[in-house]
Amino acid sequence: MSTAEQWTVDSVRAALGAKKVSARELTTEYYARIEKQNPELNAFLALCPERAYAQAERIDGKIARGEPLPPLAGVPMAIKDVISTRGVTTTCGSRILENYIPPYDAWAVECLERAGAVLLGKTNCDEFAMGSSNENSAYGPVRNPVARDRVPGGSSGGSAAAVAAGLAVAALGTDTGGSIRQPGALCGVPGMMPTYGRVSRYGLIAFASSLDRIGPLATSVRDAAAVLGVIAGRDPNDSTAAAVSVPDYLAGLQQPVKGLRIGIPKEYFAEGMDPAVRQKVEAGVELLKCLGCQPVELRMPHTDYAIATYYVIATAEASSNLARYDGVRYGLRIAGSTLLEMYKKTRGRGFGSEVKRRIMLGTYALSAGYYDAYYLKAQRVRTLIARDFGEAFGHVDAIITPTSPVPAFRLGERTAEPLQMYLADIYTVTGSLAGVPGISVPCGKTPAGLPVGLQILGPRFGEASVLQIAQAFEEAGGYTI
């Protein structure tokens, strides 16, 4: 963590209001931090100072004129590079989009700017959000600011690292199988995956359309709630964005958690967890009990099938979503003497090996003769997993699990074994498949000083209670447990 001042949404607001700092000065300060730290961390892939300063000027103008300030006024933020930003290169961490500049803003980006946020730049990630360590980026890995020889997690590793290193007050990440929560856990910051349909996906460059979600990473639960409140809600551009009203998440944060029933699913505390992680998460559960939460032992019998199910569905959708990168209209094109040759060369050189692996897996799963055995079967299991959650939330208000079975591992330690890497998502993919919201909150550190994350899952559109428990946990000292 930087020794520089750790700004929050509230402290930025207070300082701007008191004219202790201007939005412009704050922007300059953050760019200075980035300039200093990013060469080592590699958290940012692109900066957009012109856009950031223009927005800062607008905010400073409002302050000068005494106008009311929007909720994220002047807050320096970072955007994961799979989210489209007008006029700012958006690569998805891939060579194939190295030169791609979107002509439009994602809905969430529009919401943030309308709310006064200052967008500093785009953050590194695994290529097309496929990975759990950020090592699949075509632009080099991100270093974990807490332990610089280790990964920040992925795929939103750049966003988590930027927030944890104080290079942005908050950031947008995307979560398909754990890509916000797991890097949040590994970098020691809260990361929230909202309900599927809570935040519009318009402008989020698709990996797996039925799983992809945009959500915030921040240094506090309160800031995560503030950002979520701004980006949540219906969007006419996304048919899957739900017309469910958005509660005031900030107002709900201080509701007491005493008496809330928290489910502890046996399946999430079985073998395969690092002992130091287990010790911290169990301590975390004890802390929640001390806060008055009622533990309820749960069985979620289909948990074991989640990883297989997830990797069939996600890769199937990815194989289709990534078909558009063909060299015809934008992005990389490598000429060939025939159309087919152009396709092969462009995609062959444009995509990295993990992306190719998943395209092949997904293509296979959708192929004639295999569709029923793989894709259709996976969809059925997905329904069963969602039912497990539905039934569980009949008895409990939230479900508590570890976020990741292991703390941040060393760069290069796991790259040779894709299957081992896929297991990093073992506690997060279930919530992704079920469409429910979940947050990872810092839950102490291992003896080696590596952050551990506690996952709090809630019922669909139950973000308010998830945030409320996370806030109570954080306030009670969860960070330093």
Partner: protein, 499 residues
């Protein structure tokens, strides 16, 4: 149908083999905007001007279904007696081609919008197998999908090296209507396509303009020995984008199938393309069609729900369909089935006819005049009925003058010609040109007396029993009035005076 010059499949072959044909028809829906974005569907705009991030398939964009497109597809489904499903689903059809910017087409697959309908085709009294005048063709399914862009490989200075793509058409809403293999001859296929086109035009679902590509047709063709129950191996023939190609291509393909089978060969299941220039079907290179489309439900769109209430509302607003209109014309106006068929050919013409009748013209007279005078002149002028210079009320006024005997039918036709030319009402033309029929009995009698006085020889012949001479007197009187005399009155007067 009658105007088609069709060579026909050799009758001796058809004695032994029965063709089996099913059609897949794509019709462009008449919406202002595309199926999943707000871009215009206008035809003929400069290339790549009606495009946006969504229809260009830019990363991160999402489709949102155009409700009007869904409504028109439901209307078409109901007009074709299909069951509109309460819940249907879009699916992705995956394949690579530069005209497909997302690498997949959003279509429907396992759960189409509508299934199990039928369309009755009529043969104007001459069904090819002579067993009746109409036949029900089953509709397997009707679904919604998006059109692809237009790839252009010719016509540019660098066309030997480069291709160009116009994405204006990309994302234009289409319905695909798949028939059962119920068609048994190219003529039936032709009748099916014309009838389908008529229904889609009537319901204003599509303008069915084949030149602009808003109606396209592929055919599945096979033959089997007469009496055989099992269908033969089929081929799919693509690119049948005019009514004439359809029949020619089907005839070619049927004869080809029979030829292969007769010489002991087997039909290979394949996709073939109709080559208009060569007048034959040719196999597509296997790479061009050997796809595993890897269909799966489109995760970016929710299932399509059609409530019973909405279906009922669309049903209520359904315009009268061609068959019902023909029946009503025959029954209500006492016109012949043939006339009803011509007048109900398009909704615009049928509306015109009914407007003329509503404005006071007798139905049969209106039917005759529209078919003989109006349609002929429109055809000569290359105009549509909607562009007729003679409004229905104006035609009705003219027909009333004729009917009441104020002018002769012959004069009426001349007046009509002027009306068509100038757009003026009948009364104005008659006043200006003096073509009002002379019905004044005194004037007629005076003229008759003049003609009789001037032709004593013929008077003698007539009185001697040569009745043929009577026509001569009538003609002379009519000519003296330049066609304006009421013929009946002339007849009566001459008979009396010569009597």
């Amino acid at each position: 149908m009658a105007t088609q010059q069709i060579r026909g499949v050799a009758p001796d072959l058809l004695e032994r083999y029965e063709p089996v044909i099913g059609l897949e028809v794509h019709a462009q829906l008449k919406t202002a905007s595309k199926i999943f974005c707000a871009c215009s569907t206008r035809f003929g705009d400069p290339p790549n001007t009606n495009v946006c991030p969504v229809c260009l398939g830019l990363p991160g964009t999402l489709p949102v279904l155009n409700r009007r497109a869904l409504e028109l597809a439901i209307r078409a489904s109901l007009a074709l007696h299909c069951n509109v499903q309460e819940s249907s689903r879009f699916a992705r059809k995956n394949y690579f081609y530069p005209d497909l910017p997302k690498g997949y087409q959003i279509s429907m697959y396992e759960l189409p919008l509508a299934t199990g309908g039928w369309l009755e085709i009529e043969f104007n009294g001459a069904r090819p197998d002579k067993t009746g005048t109409s036949k029900r063709i089953g509709i397997t399914r009707l679904h919604l999908e998006e059109d692809a862009a237009k790839a252009m490989h010719e016509g540019f200075p660098d066309s030997d090296r480069n291709s160009y793509i116009d994405y204006n058409r990309c994302g234009v809403p289409l319905i695909e209507i798949v028939s059962e293999p119920d068609l048994r001859s190219p003529a039936e296929a032709y009748a099916y396509l014309t009838t389908l086109k008529q229904v889609l035009e009537y319901t204003e679902v599509s303008d069915c303009n084949m030149e602009e590509g808003s109606l396209r047709c592929d055919a599945n063709v096979s033959v089997r020995r007469r009496g055989a129950e099992k269908f033969g191996t089929k081929t799919e023939v693509k690119n049948l984008n005019s009514f004439r190609y359809l029949q020619h291509a089907l005839e070619y393909e049927i004869e080809r199938h029979i030829g292969v089978l007769e010489s002991g060969g087997q039909i290979e299941q394949e996709t073939r393309l109709w080559n208009l220039g060569a007048g034959r079907t040719e196999p597509m290179r296997s790479k061009e069609y050997a796809h595993d489309y890897r269909y799966f439900p489109e995760p970016d769109l929710l299932p399509v729900r059609v409530s019973a209430a909405w279906k009922a509302e669309i049903e209520r607003a359904m315009p009268e369909l061609p068959g019902a209109k023909r029946a009503r014309f025959i029954h209500d106006y006492g016109i012949t089935p043939y006339d009803a068929g011509v007048l109900a050919d398009t909704r615009a013409l049928a509306d015109y006819f009914e407007a003329v009748v509503r404005a006071g013209a007798p139905a049969k007279t209106a039917a005759n005049w529209i078919q003989t005078e109006l349609l002929r002149r429109l055809k000569d002028a290359g105009k549509e009925i909607s562009e007729s210079p003679v409004a229905p009320a104006a035609l009705a006024d003219l027909l009333k003058l004729v009917e009441s005997g104020q002018i002769t039918a012959a004069s009426g036709k001349k007046v009509f010609a002027k009306m068509f030319e100038t757009g003026q009402p009948a009364q104005a033309i008659i006043a200006a040109e003096g073509v009002s029929q002379i019905s004044d009995a005194g004037e007629i009698e005076r003229l008759c007396r003049e003609v009789i006085a001037a032709n004593p020889d013929n008077v003698a012949k007539y009185r001697a029993g040569n009745e043929g001479v009577f026509k001569f007197f009538v003609g002379q009187v009519i000519r003296a009035t330049r066609g304006q005399a009421n013929p009946q009155l002339v007849n009566d007067t001459l008979k009396r005076l010569l009597g």
